[in-house]
Symmetry: C2
């Protein structure tokens, strides 16, 4: 993309209404604009990152064998009356009446609707196991929306639901989701720690939240320092293999890691003192196994091998897709702006032309631009007629992890400069070498 043809309205001033750094930086970097309280327009740069995150979620769900679909944003109230949640949900549910005074609501989650769908079509155990998910806009009418996309009202969530014949199968689905989520967050450059969670109003015995450590997190967290050494990495795993998935769950959840809601001071204090850690965390996902509660209420019953009719064992599993942009920025920024991890960066590198209009500099930038595209990378070329200082400040603010700086002086020696946003270190090299280095860096991310 050439910046002269893009729409990137960066702000010089820090918006007064933003209390946390990710909100400030998303506004300043021209990623979002508030439409009304807790409701945002995603400007081109923000939308680009949102789509990258959504795509990673889709790819990892596919790897785990989960099946994508899409439920609508508006749901009939009657579905929620069947589960008993219509009245119970309270003022966070946005209730709507249509022109025929039919009662509807803007879905905050989809347990009722998906269970109704499965109840409609699935009659035999032979269709199982089955995990369906969607990535759809939800609405929760927070009384005080704040912190930008971190606690918005209209938000994008991936929510998935497993349907299994037995508790044992459903717990495998639970473990499979845990493995899949570990991969998902790592691809986004995040270390998200599964922590024992409170099952809350949705009920259920098994639930973990995934928390990203950040000073601005909404939850206080307590953990064994060893949990931060764990990495899933690129290990091969067979998602159908119950033992393999259970072993990963064991590895990642056997050490102490809890939020303030489930904190057990005695267990925490039993750890060696040097391994006890207290910090703040941002919740970016949650997995649940809750048994047959919804399938009984919504009639999701199948015939088992013996011909008996049994309710399905279910769980629901969510990733806060739009919230993740805030969480990533909270975990990865400095005083100049955002620092995108390579897996989610909106553009793979910025190209800064120090002397726009200089025939040689222009030609070198164009050649770099085309070479990046030829390798499947997306460059952002600042081709505006601006001072170098302003161009650098914009690139630092929007946080592309790599920048290639091109100027007449370097070109005389046959070199450009490749700069890491994270370390700030620059290295001079021929243009071809800069491209080669970027190809290596992004090898696992294209």
């Amino acid at each position: 993309m050439r910046l002269s043809r893009y729409f990137l309205p960066v702000l010089k001033e820090t918006p007064a209404e933003a209390q946390i750094v990710s909100h400030r930086l998303m506004l300043r970097a021209g990623m979002i604009k508030q439409a009304s309280a807790g409701i945002y327009s995603w400007l081109p740069l923000g939308f680009k990152v949102l789509r990258k995150i959504e795509n990673i979620v889709h790819e990892e769900q596919a790897r785990a064998g989960h099946i994508p679909m899409l439920m609508p944003t508006l749901q009939p109230a009657d579905l929620w009356r069947k589960s008993g949640r219509y009245d119970a949900y309270g003022p966070e549910m946005l209730r709507v009446s249509d022109r025929h005074d039919r009662e509807m609501l803007y879905g905050p989650t989809n347990e009722e609707m998906i269970t109704d769908i499965v109840a409609n079509y699935v009659t035999s155990y032979k269709t199982l196991p089955l995990t369906l998910y969607h990535v759809q806009w939800k609405f929760r009418d927070e009384v005080r929306p704040r912190f930008g996309v971190m606690r918005g009202r209209e938000f994008l969530m991936k929510d998935g639901y497993n349907f299994d014949l037995t508790k044992e199968d459903a717990l495998h689905a639970y473990n499979r989701h845990l493995v899949s989520y570990l991969r998902t967050y790592e691809r986004m450059g995040l270390r998200a720690i599964p922590m024992r969670a409170d099952s809350g109003p949705i009920g259920g015995d098994y639930t973990h939240e995934f928390l990203v450590l950040a000073d601005t997190g909404e939850s206080e967290v307590f953990y064994d320092s060893e949990v931060t050494d764990l990495t899933f990495g690129d290990r091969e795993i067979d998602f159908d293999d119950k033992a393999q998935c259970a072993a990963v769950l064991e590895e990642f959840t056997s050490r102490y890691a809890r939020t303030d809601e489930t904190h057990d001071a005695a267990a925490f204090n039993a750890l060696p003192e040097e391994r006890r850690r207290t910090a703040r965390g941002i919740e970016v996902g949650q997995i649940f196994y809750f048994g047959t509660e919804y399938s009984e209420k919504m009639g999701a019953v199948v015939q088992n091998e013996d011909g008996a009719r049994v309710p399905l064992h279910m769980g629901s599993h969510g990733i806060g897709v739009s919230r993740l942009l805030g969480a990533i920025i909270e975990a990865s920024h400095d005083d100049k702006g955002i620092i995108w991890p390579e897996g989610v960066t909106p553009f793979h590198a910025g190209i800064v032309n120090l002397k726009q209009g200089d025939a040689e500099a222009d030609a070198a930038c164009e050649a770099l631009y085309k070479a990046m595209e030829a390798h499947g990378m997306e460059p952002l070329y600042d081709d505006r007629n601006e001072r170098a200082g302003g161009k650098f400040a914009s690139m630092d603010l929007i946080g592309l992890p790599w920048r290639i700086t091109v100027g007449p002086r370097g070109l005389k020696n046959g070199v450009v400069e490749l700069t890491s946003r994270r370390s700030g270190e620059s290295e001079e090299m021929p243009p071809e070498a800069a491209i080669e280095k970027l190809v290596q860096i992004y090898a696992g991310h294209l």
Copy 2:
């Protein structure tokens, strides 16, 4: 995808509530399920086609230089008061109050919101030209929703908005959208004819609708038979070149083609009789130039080169993304089911195993499956233990354009059968030759 692990709830019976063929076939093929009147869940097969169509729209918008973003579904009423449309819009607008009694609405379109965004950030002509678009769910509270996704209430639309300094520039944006839409529809296997449209309540002098000819279309259309001979094809075009885009507009709109709303009997009857055609059509898109009306009301004003403050010239341009599934099926089906064009098919070919459990047949199917994936194609392998007749009927119903049939008898002679859904013709060939033929067929579509 292996069918034993997919969720494809095909129906044997024809649902009574569906009046038109696309609605019937989408229900029977397990693509959609009604959630409430005019609101649908997209089951996995339907969602897959929806995403394919959305991706084609995004790719063609990118080619034309238009910039993607995303506006929220809920909008503040005050924005619409500014344009005067809040009261004017009538009962098709779904109005919502939040917990603080703030008036909102579920967006039926986005002229107000996008103009407000541009008014906020764009102050100079230097940022122009600018075309922003999004693909987002909309809501129109139709009094009698029907025909499935063809006239739903919650529907997915691409709507784009151009902002230009002069009428001349805005008309180039208009022409550019026309060219881009021609490409878009052709990639989906559709012949969509631009027809002079009525500008309706949105106002404006220049507007064309794109209509797909189909017996079940909602509009009566009148056209010169020569328009159906026109094809955009894969010609190269420079979307920045005003003359090139204007020439395409001229080529595709100079012959008579109108809907009943703008029909001019005298002009039509002036055509040679053998070229006069009357038919029915489905509207799948519309382009508009409407001048400075919204920019004046919403304050989208910039400084021009002389320092004077002038309102921007705008247009809005829409493609009915979810409706397109219905339109494609109306235009491409037979009495056995859907016939997907190669550009939008949910899977590139079906693999039917005539004798599941036969070691040789199973191995041959697995090899074909892996070979298709290795070539970037997605197969749907019917690996269920069902009769061949049932497998064929399901494949015909869901409409994959190609089927590979594998059985012990053929394998003895080293062949499988490749069948065209459209022509019904089958050809025996070695498995490698079938793969090679599919690679050629899909060369332009992967």
